[in-house]
């Protein structure tokens, strides 16, 4: 039995650490690529959201490498992600792939079945070992995100453009050859040192852009055409509040233990969005408000076409834009998105923000209208 799992940005690093620690045999699907997207688009329902299609492609490519068990996390709505497991199972079944789908959601109805499945995958059931592995995984995912944030800060300031990109890219590739949380952490430390060694312009005061929106498209560089690195190289400092580690720690671990994570965004979203409606809408709205108040120059919202929760955010964001006087750019991604048009919009947005900032500095307040 060989386990596989879907790609989403850097998620493969903590998941790899977890599976290594538990001693489970696994296949990491090839990094998100055009072929995976093509396969997914071909077999998934036309109106399904983009992550479902890419993940389907991941599984088919992993199947070619010998994987026969899919591990994905679940949920109970109302976002469609909660039903991904079922969709994938049915689609793969009709395609004739002999792959089992195991959804990691703990329903109250069937907790013993859940534990049985865990036992079947891990071969044995040692709660202590599993808890230790989960703890290490959480640490790894946190460090990966910290490393990413560091690269956000270095990119706009580096003297030789592309240095951070090169180091970061090589980290993402060579981590595949490491085994276990310890080796991965060593590589993270090594990379961090390399990043800090890059010569930077300390006096620079770059424009700051917040990235909000649906978690998959904001976190996955293949789907968003490496937006963070592009913005960084255009001279913008990027901040993305929703991260993989945040999601793992707040939504999975803390929720299971009944703890509460940082919920300041919920308060901030209140005036615009009265209740939790699923997906990351509350995060999108709340973080936009928080970032605007924090002096950010602009916000980019990214969502896959047809994403139900983010459509609500999209229609609310113009109110925040008006109230807090902060430009918001909405980027919608699907399998047909052309890179050139997309990049032109990003460039124009960055130019606008730079002009706005300059004029603001001269006139003492932000003059250039966004609308």
């Amino acid at each position: 039995m060989k386990v596989t799992f879907p790609h989403m940005g850097n998620t493969y690093i903590p998941v790899k650490a977890l599976l290594d620690e538990l001693g489970i045999e696994y296949v990491i699907p090839p990094f998100n690529n055009k072929k995976a997207l093509e396969l997914g688009t071909k077999y998934a329902p036309e109106m399904a959201c983009l992550p479902l299609k890419i993940n389907l492609g991941n599984f088919i490519q992993a199947h070619e490498l010998g994987a026969d068990l899919i591990l994905i996390s679940g949920g109970c709505g109302p976002c469609r992600f909660g039903y991904y497991g079922e969709m994938h199972r049915e689609i793969l079944k009709d395609l004739g792939f002999n792959m089992e789908v195991f959804t990691l959601d703990i329903s109250k109805k069937d907790i013993s079945g859940f534990l049985r499945n865990i036992k079947r995958i891990t071969g044995e059931f040692k709660p202590y070992k599993i808890l230790k592995a989960i703890k290490k995984t959480a640490e790894v995912s946190k460090q990966v995100d910290e490393l990413e944030r560091l690269s956000f800060k270095i990119r706009p300031r580096e003297i030789v453009k592309g240095s951070a990109d090169r180091i970061y890219k090589s980290f993402q590739n060579s981590v595949l050859n490491k085994k276990g949380a310890k080796e991965i952490k060593e590589l993270i430390d090594f990379t961090r040192k390399n990043l800090l060694d890059i010569e930077t312009d300390k006096s620079l005061d770059p424009i700051k852009i917040g990235i909000v929106g649906e978690i998959y498209t904001t976190n996955d560089p293949f789907t968003n055409f490496r937006i963070e690195s592009r913005l960084g190289n255009e001279g913008a400092e990027v901040m993305r509040p929703v991260t993989v580690s945040g999601w793992i720690i707040d939504h999975m671990i803390k929720k299971a233990l009944g703890l509460k994570g940082d919920e300041s965004y919920k308060e901030a979203a209140k005036p615009y969005l009265g209740a939790m409606i699923g997906g990351h809408t509350q995060e999108t709205i709340g973080n936009t408000v928080l970032l605007a108040k924090d002096g950010y120059d602009g916000i980019i919202q990214i969502l896959p076409l047809g994403c139900m929760p983010e459509i609500v955010s999209e229609s609310i964001l113009p109110s925040i834009e008006r109230d807090l006087n902060i430009p918001v750019l909405t980027l919608i991604i699907d399998e047909m998105t052309g890179e050139a048009g997309y990049l032109t919009r990003i460039e124009a947005f960055v130019d606008l923000l730079k002009r706005r900032k300059e004029e603001g500095l001269i006139a003492g307040k932000r003059m250039l209208s966004w609308n």
């Binding site: 329902p45 109106m47 399904a48 959201c49 109970c76 469609r80 047809g306 994403c307």
Partner: protein, 330 residues
């Protein structure tokens, strides 16, 4: 002068109107419902709403625009969940927020949250909250709610017997007798707001009926039957409509008097994309019943729909004449 409460004739109006209308009328309010969907309403909605939203949500915006200047309150409850453990959809849950951000010059919105996901008891509480906008007497609200609920249950029983809303005027005459009928039975699955809005679906129901077809919608299947089938699914469907659709599809597949299944989806509906696909797989794997999608969007070319419906029903009739030698895939 009595208080005017406006209800957009859109989305859950089609499922809930006996309840809502009776409730407000019992409280002494005047209920103003927007007119039937028209080209103007659709155009207004499409213009003001974000492009990516689904057709029903755009239409809702249009209905709100046509109502907003004529009423004291707009009734847009935040419908998070209308059944235990289930949601409706993020867009319906965030509807009051979307409306507030997109449309200017609104009257006060009654946006009480209806959330029955955790325990069934908050139903009356929501009703009390909603009622308090027009009447301060708690007991009167309670009485109105009970009366409205009676009306609603009566209506649901009618629907299970074969009544299709929109036939209001000749109500009793329109009740089709499902059993022992010579008519061809075709099952239609789709959101009530798509099935019963004859502008959006281009008179789908009356076209089929005029062709000698008896329509059985998923709303005519009793809750017990739906649940007994839905419980057999691998993972609980957490959308109210999803459970009903998949439960009834499995039921239709096992019933032997259904000759065809039509799944009506709205363009851009996230739930339809998933549930429709799963439903199709259920039908194809377990039966040879012809299955067709009809997807509704803001375009209104009627000829294409007519051709497809005709081809579908002809194919079914030929199949029954020629011992099912016709492909179910069209």
């Amino acid at each position: 002068m009595s208080i005017k409460v406006g209800i957009p004739r859109s989305l859950f109006y089609y499922q809930m109107y006996p309840l809502w209308q009776t409730f407000f009328e019992e409280l002494g309010a005047e209920v103003v419902v927007s007119e039937n969907t028209s080209k103007k309403i659709l155009d207004d909605g499409v213009r003001i709403c974000v492009d990516e939203a689904c057709l029903p949500v755009k239409l809702f915006h249009g209905h709100v625009i046509s109502l907003k200047d004529r009423v004291d309150y707009l009734f847009i409850p935040r419908m998070t969940s209308i059944s235990k453990g289930e949601y409706i959809c993020p867009k319906v849950g965030g509807l009051p927020d979307m409306i507030r951000s997109s449309i200017k010059g609104l009257p006060e919105i009654i946006d009480v949250e209806i959330n029955l996901r955790k325990s069934g008891s908050s139903e009356l509480e929501s009703a009390l909250d909603i009622g308090s906008y027009v009447c301060k007497d708690g007991r009167r609200i309670k009485r109105a709610y009970i009366k409205a609920l009676d009306k609603f249950n009566e209506y649901k029983a009618d629907v299970e017997r074969g009544f299709i809303p929109g036939d209001d005027i000749n109500r009793k005459r329109n009740i089709y007798v499902v059993k022992n009928s010579e008519l061809l039975n075709i099952a239609i699955i789709g959101h009530p707001y798509n099935l019963y809005d004859s502008y959006v679906n281009m008179n789908l129901i009356s076209k089929l009926r005029g062709d000698g077809i008896n329509i059985i919608t998923h709303e005519m299947v009793s809750e017990e039957i739906i649940n007994s089938y839905a419980d057999k699914l691998n993972k609980k469907v957490f959308w109210n409509f999803g459970r009903k659709a998949l439960g009834s599809v499995r039921h239709f597949v096992e019933r032997n008097d259904i000759k065809g299944i039509i799944f009506v989806v709205s363009f851009g509906c996230g739930i339809d994309a998933f549930i429709g696909d799963l439903a199709e797989r259920i039908v194809r794997r377990n039966s040879s019943i012809p299955f067709m999608f009809i997807s509704l969007d803001e375009h209104s070319g009627e000829a294409g729909l007519d051709t497809r419906l005709e081809a579908f029903t002809d194919m079914i009739r030929w199949r029954s004449k020629n011992e099912s030698n016709f492909s179910a895939h069209g």
